[in-house]
């Protein structure tokens, strides 16, 4: 993930803004779960070719259950694996857990005997359990058995002890560790732990004292202190350390925490106080994903939203969504708003008020007074009959507020205070009084003037010289008759040689005017005389009739270019030529040295043998002889070996130069040297002895 390294910086930024953004509510539109989610579920949970594991089958069935989609084949395939796991002997607690989960959704079997075997196996596994996930699967499995077959005995032998061992893995910041020998704490593990602790309370609530429950409640509070937030009011959970191997991403982590929270809140005797704003922010986080492209992500999203919706012990978020955020004045669009729960179910009776309409550039003053939207009970949405007259073309922020009618509901639903929604209001901007004129420079009198009709192409022709000016003027007004400054208002002049110049048409209020003083512009025009094509372009994102019209041409008479005038930039024949393949760069790291010609080197090689020949010749002329060579066999052999030894060493040096490396050579030299020493000593001492005998004799 390329953004991992940016996360710590982002985290700091979040902490900084958390303190500032308290009361400012959301400003983005999310949509509740709807048909696109259902069709995505059907598509994603049918993998091509392979069979689903029990965990995946459970995820698929749970998602289908929440969305109200049926899949018989999945059920029957799942049942086969479920029965296999529940009936066959060695199954891990994880397999039993998921088998029981699938069984709960597809009702594969309800034989008491099967559940009893599973329960005994789970209890045995529980007594050996040491890590968080072990507890999770065993306790979770026993809770599922209790739901599916209430007669089976699932009493825990030491509920309090188990509760304490799980609680012991909690950290001071509300996170949990996976095991006592695992130092890293994880938010995902916290969600899993809360779910497991809720399971223990379900199984044996008499043993768990209220103080233990309130201790866990404190952990939940601390965990929610570490929640992260986007500017638009979306809340989510993420791990502190994102580089760990078990990092699952904010979606899985937030989903785990929501599931854990809702399980715990439903069994805890005292109310867990989570602000409605946080729950609404979490709901928006899950909904803002839209329709995930991965089956696991879809499961996390749907499962978490189902927990948020169905848990009555914490506030249920209400989602405000708009089917259309662009309203057209020409078509007289109505403002339509829906208020539903996260899964798309109807909201309780409420009033929807449009408190303010703020223009994006004047964000303090509301354009309208507060008004109430009418409720259409058949369609299930709220609407405004006609947009107020003050609302003109442009970008606005509509500020809504949900007011629940029943005061009891105020505690159980999270509405989110003031909700800001960006709305674009588009319309047709009228262009009037479009006139183009050539003026004489000094007096400003009009030389030629032509009217333009800027709703279609025009074809006027003008002519001017460098002493004159060109003036273009028109008026723009919104449907309500007010002035409007569009994002773009240009006049383009294009010469025959394809050189073009673009000028911005400025405005004061409704009147748009551009005056081109050719005297000053001759240099900008590169002194090119001739025919210039004229085009007028006016456009904006909220203008329904943005246009680019050619309006004709002007013959410009400009004096010749002086010596040092700038040349116009060459226009490439093919505008895509800059994307062509460029010439290859040859990299030269070091130029090779110049070597002498071969013949010269060979000549000197021969020349260097000359002194050796001279040496031999000199030896001959001196009359060297081998008379001192020993004649007796033993010394003779030594003498021979001595010469051979020296020759061998020199031969070894040749080999060394040619291919051996130093270490091999040194080893060989060592051996040969030892031999040579021995032999040399013998022969030389023999020679010394003989010469000494000769001297004494």
């Amino acid at each position: 993930m390329a953004d991992r390294r940016g996360m710590p910086v982002y985290f700091l930024a979040i902490i900084a803004t958390l303190s500032i953004c308290n009361a400012v509510a959301s400003s983005s539109v999310v949509h509740p779960v709807s048909d696109p989610h259902r069709s995505a579920a059907v598509e994603l949970f049918t993998p091509a070719g392979r069979s689903l594991s029990l965990e995946e089958t459970y995820e698929a069935l749970r998602t289908f259950e929440v969305l109200g989609v049926g899949k018989a084949k999945l059920r029957s395939d799942g049942c086969l694996s479920v029965l296999e796991v529940l009936k066959s002997a060695p199954s891990s607690p994880k397999d039993l857990y998921y088998a029981l989960k699938v069984n709960g959704l597809s009702k594969c079997t309800s034989e008491r005997a099967v559940f009893e075997i599973a329960a005994s196996r789970l209890k045995a596994a529980l007594s050996d359990a040491s890590s968080l996930l072990d507890y999770h699967y065993t306790v979770g499995g026993l809770v599922l058995i209790k739901d599916q077959s209430p007669d089976v005995d699932v009493a825990l032998s030491d509920a309090k002890g188990t509760f304490q061992s799980i609680k012991a893995l909690s950290q001071s910041d509300g996170r949990w560790r996976y095991g006592s020998n695992n130092p890293e704490s994880s938010t995902y593990a916290a969600g899993v732990a809360l779910e497991t602790l809720a399971g223990i309370i379900k199984l044996e609530d008499s043993e768990i004292s209220p103080s233990m429950i309130s201790a866990v409640g404190n952990d939940i509070k601390k965990l929610f202190d570490s929640i992260e937030k986007y500017d638009d009011g979306t809340f989510y959970f993420d791990e502190k350390v994102v580089e760990s191997l078990e990092y699952r991403g904010p979606l899985a982590t937030s989903s785990a925490v929501v599931v854990g929270l809702s399980s715990f809140a439903s069994v805890a005797s005292e109310k867990i106080d989570i602000p409605g704003e946080v729950l609404l922010g979490l709901a928006k986080f899950f909904l803002a994903i839209g329709v995930p492209g991965d089956s696991k992500d879809l499961f996390y999203q749907i499962n978490a939203l189902a927990c948020l919706e169905n848990n009555r012990r914490v506030s249920v978020p209400l989602i405000l969504s708009l089917p259309a955020t662009v309203l057209s004045l020409t078509k007289k669009d109505q403002l339509k708003v829906r208020v539903t729960t996260v899964l798309g179910a109807n909201s309780p009776p409420l009033k929807l008020k449009l408190r303010q309409v703020l223009k994006s550039d004047a964000a303090d003053v509301s354009v309208i007074d507060s008004q109430e939207l009418t409720h259409d009970s058949e369609g299930g949405f709220y609407y405004l009959d006609v947009l107020p007259d003050n609302i003109d073309v442009g970008k606005y922020k509509f500020v809504f507020q949900i007011l629940l009618e029943d005061p009891e509901h105020k505690k159980s639903y999270a509405t989110g205070g003031r909700i800001h929604v960006p709305i674009y209001v588009s319309g047709v901007v009228n262009v009037e009084n479009a006139v183009i004129a050539v003026l004489d420079s000094d007096l400003g009198t009009v030389d030629t003037q032509k009217n333009l009709d800027l709703v279609k192409r025009n074809d006027i022709s003008l002519s001017a010289n460098h002493l004159q000016k060109l003036r273009l003027s028109f008026q723009l007004s919104t449907p309500r008759g007010l002035a409007y400054t569009p994002h773009q208002a240009f006049l383009r002049l294009k010469h025959e040689t394809k050189v073009e110049h673009i000028f911005v048409v400025g405005n004061t209020g409704k009147q748009f005017e551009l005056v081109l003083d050719f005297l000053r512009l001759v240099e900008k025009f590169y002194y090119l005389s001739g025919r210039y094509e004229l085009e007028v372009a006016v456009g904006d994102s909220v203008m329904e009739n943005s246009f680019l019209w050619p309006i004709g041409h002007i013959e410009l008479d400009i004096p010749e270019a002086p010596e040092k005038a700038p040349r116009p930039p060459p226009v490439a024949a093919d505008p895509y030529s800059r994307f062509e393949v460029k010439a290859e760069i040859q990299h030269i790291f070091r130029a090779p040295e110049k070597r002498p010609p071969k013949e010269l080197s060979l000549a000197f090689l021969g020349l260097s043998f000359l002194p050796f020949i001279g040496f031999l010749g000199g030896l001959l002329s001196l009359g060297v002889n081998l008379k001192n060579f020993p004649s007796a066999p033993v010394p003779a052999t030594f003498a021979l070996l001595f010469q051979v030894g020296i020759g061998a060493v020199l031969g070894l040096y040749m080999l060394f130069w040619l291919k051996l490396d130093l270490f091999t050579t040194l080893k060989a030299v060592g051996l040969l040297g030892a031999f040579l020493l021995f032999v040399g000593h013998r022969i030389l001492s023999h020679l010394a002895a003989t010469s000494a005998k000769l001297k004494s004799a």
Binding site: G614, Y653, L684
Partner: protein, 115 residues
């Protein structure tokens, strides 16, 4: 006066030659060997002067091999010269053995440096 210097030079050379003829034969062999080594070195230097000193390590190893062996031969000559009182007690075979050993070591180093 030029004539007398020329005559003096010739006389000098003649006396040197006759003195040299009196040296023992083994010393003459060593002198010849030194002349051989030095001339080989000179030829290598001339070659380098012609073609440039790349690769410098090869040039150095070649020249130093010649110079080194000449130096060792000179040492041997000093040790073998009977007129040299310092080395009177040194057996000539011992000097020769030293010469051989030092030459072998020198040439190992030279071969390593030759590249």
């Amino acid at each position: 006066m030029a004539r007398s210097t020329g005559e003096d030079a010739q006389a000098l050379i003649r006396s040197l030659r006759s003195a040299y003829a009196a040296t023992p034969k083994n010393l003459k062999i060593i002198d010849l060997y030194v002349a051989f080594a030095v001339s080989t070195a000179l030829i290598q230097v001339v070659y380098m002067a012609l073609v440039g000193s790349f690769p410098f390590n090869s040039f150095l190893s070649g020249v130093l091999s010649c110079v080194g062996t000449a130096v060792l031969a000179v040492c041997l000559r000093i040790q073998l010269n009977k007129d040299n009182k310092e080395f009177k007690d040194l057996a000539p075979e011992r000097a020769f053995a030293d010469f051989v050993l030092c030459n072998l070591v020198l040439h190992l180093v030279i071969m390593n440096f030759l590249g």
